[in-house]
């Protein structure tokens, strides 16, 4: 624990840009990090950043050099686990695949003042807050089919030869369950709505296992389910892995309508 979680005072005596001995350019970048459970509410930190430094690298730097108790979730560092979702300069993003220099370049292009510019990082909204940037994803998973398969058949099965020992190549789902879509969804922030990630997971599960339709479709056939979607499409825009949850919601709506027609309910 440090007495003061800010290292901003150092900012003025340090060069803004320099090179390492090996010639790699380093840039001092200022971060403003939400710490809502702390008295100070925000922490300001200046971090040395190289070309390939990601936001998660920068947060780890702050954690090991300034405040060991800075809270953020991270695990894989390559966009696969889905733990590191945050709101970065007002946009939902994965910290581990966000290159800090991209944010700096973006700010410069927008005409931001070099000296005062800071990257602002906040925790995802619509989930319970644990501390600093960390949230509890229980809210996200509550509206998932909790036991749905996480594997799917690979599209490569069409063209490629497969080892004789297996029936086809498998892949993990593209959805890394990061919750960026849920955090960006205006409906979730306004009323009780299952949210894009969970609904997309329901659609995948009934597509893979049509025999589960009778059990699963009724769970999403409601105003907090598929009929709650207002088609803002924010989910499909923020999704880091191209899941397009909005498309899944439409497919799920169609499946429900079709089932009802077939059983003569409509």
């Amino acid at each position: 624990m440090s007495d003061s979680p800010q290292n901003d005072s150092r900012h003025n005596d340090q060069p803004q840009e320099f090179q390492t001995l090996s010639g790699e350019p380093v840039r001092m970048v200022r971060f403003r990090i939400a710490r809502p459970q702390r008295e100070e509410q925000w922490g300001q930190y200046v971090v040395p950043v190289k070309g390939h430094t990601t936001l998660v690298d920068a947060l780890e730097w702050i954690k090991s050099n300034i405040d060991l108790t800075l809270m953020f979730r991270h695990s894989c560092h390559h966009g696969s686990c889905g733990t590191c979702g945050m709101i970065v300069n007002n946009k939902q993003a994965l910290a581990c695949t966000t290159r800090v220099m991209d944010l700096v370049e973006e700010a410069e292009a927008a005409g931001e003042d070099r000296k005062s510019f800071a990257i602002e990082v906040r925790p995802l909204q619509t989930m319970d807050h644990l501390g600093d940037l960390a949230v509890d994803p229980a809210r996200l998973f509550r509206d998932f089919p909790v036991d749905a398969d996480y594997l799917r058949p690979s599209e490569a099965n069409k063209g490629s030869e497969v080892p004789g020992e297996i029936t086809g190549y498998q892949r993990f789902e593209n959805c890394i369950e990061c919750g960026l879509c849920v955090s960006s969804c205006p409906v979730v922030t306004m009323r009780d709505f299952m949210g894009p990630a969970g609904l997309a997971a329901y659609n995948r599960e009934v597509t893979k296992h049509p025999e589960r339709s009778g059990e699963l479709l009724p769970r999403v056939d409601s105003d907090r389910g598929v009929w709650g979607c207002d088609r803002h499409l924010a989910c499909s825009q923020v999704c880091p892995t191209g899941v397009y949850p909005a498309k899944h919601i439409v497919q799920l709506q169609k499946k429900i309508k079709k089932t009802k027609q077939e059983s003569g309910q409509e």
């Binding site: 624990m1 090996s22 790699e24 459970q37 070309g51 390939h52 990601t54 690298d57 780890e60 730097w61 954690k63 090991s64 050099n65 108790t69 809270m71 953020f72 979730r73 991270h74 695990s75 894989c76 560092h77 390559h78 966009g79 696969s80 686990c81 889905g82 733990t83 581990c96 695949t97 644990l130 501390g131 960390a134 509890d136 994803p137 229980a138 996200l140 998973f141 509550r142 998932f144 909790v146 036991d147 749905a148 398969d149 996480y150 594997l151 690979s154 490569a156 490629s160 030869e161 497969v162 080892p163 020992e165 297996i166 190549y169 498998q170 892949r171 993990f172 789902e173 890394i176 369950e177």
Partner: protein, 398 residues
Amino acid sequence: MSHGHVVVIGGGGTGAAIIHDLIQRGFTATLVERGELTSGTTGRHHGQLHSGARYAVGDREIARECMEEVRILQAIAPQALEMNYGLFVALTDEDVAFAPEFIQACREATIPVREIPLDQAFRMEPHLNPEIKMALQVPDGTIDAWRLPLHFFATARAAGADIRTFTEVVGIHSRAGAVTGVRVLNHATQEESDIAADLVVSATGAWAEKVAALAGIHIPVTPAPGTMVAVKKRLNNMVVSHLHPAGDGDIIVPQRGLSIIGSTQWKTDDPDTVEVPRADIDYLTRRATELMPVFGETPFHAAWSASRPLAGASSNVEDGRKLSRDFIAIDHGRSDGVKGFISIIGGKATVLRAMGEKTVDLICDLVGVQEPCRTAETPLLQHRAFYNPHLVTKGAAS
């Protein structure tokens, strides 16, 4: 009745498997992790489900254990694995000359290995270097580095384990040569408190030296980070490895829509301040391009590193090696005069369950309990169940 309360320090794969096994064998247990679960080495590893082929020439026993665990994990946690097999490919005549020794070693380790005709190998993996001279198929696969341990955590939690994240151990209490508990700092509240324990297990990998020091014990552990580089395209269906004695940058592990080359190894003082060396990215990309030429032209996705714990020479480390060739389990009661404190260092993500089994066997010995391990036969709950244990409907474990 509980056999006693165990505090497990470290929420990586090793801690996950230990707490699951402890709960199954009738202990009560609390696991404390200073960050998010698997935020140490486990979440960042290369993601290879090791058939053991990579290790067979060097150590049949380790290889055999990998193969056994691959079979077990397929049965207890199938949704955490892309079981697509792997190809070892020869790039040079020297590699081809290495093949008979490799095949023999795999067979001795019970790893099914077979040569695949080249035309067939290219139909499996169209991006392979067209110059390859030989391809051998083994049962390798891909692990979801976060979701596999979460299967263990979910199952343990549903059965009553107390799992606390953002909770850092800052002290280890002992009285009259035996541990009595740990002192923890809750990062959210900034408050310290004590957790009483009959036994304390440190499963802190590259941090094991620091944690043992809290009990006044020295274990020489050097963090040895390695880098991995991912490109934004699924170039291979199977794990593709260079057929040669295991070295740096010789495996491309595919996963979802990514292909990942790894790894390297260097040494550092502090596992918390690991940076990716720019030179590693260039080196790994070059090595990947030898196996699959398109790798170098595929858009970059991410580069990161993870720390292995390299245990140095000391009497407690030598003692701790006896349980397994692959990892070290130190009973600090025996080697350092602190009863009820155990450190587990090393191993592989692939063999996490076996590490849990051997550690809990040791714990049962220490407290004089006879409970057989049942984790190899118990299907695990899926990762999502960790967050909502009450919603679980199918595939529930006892």
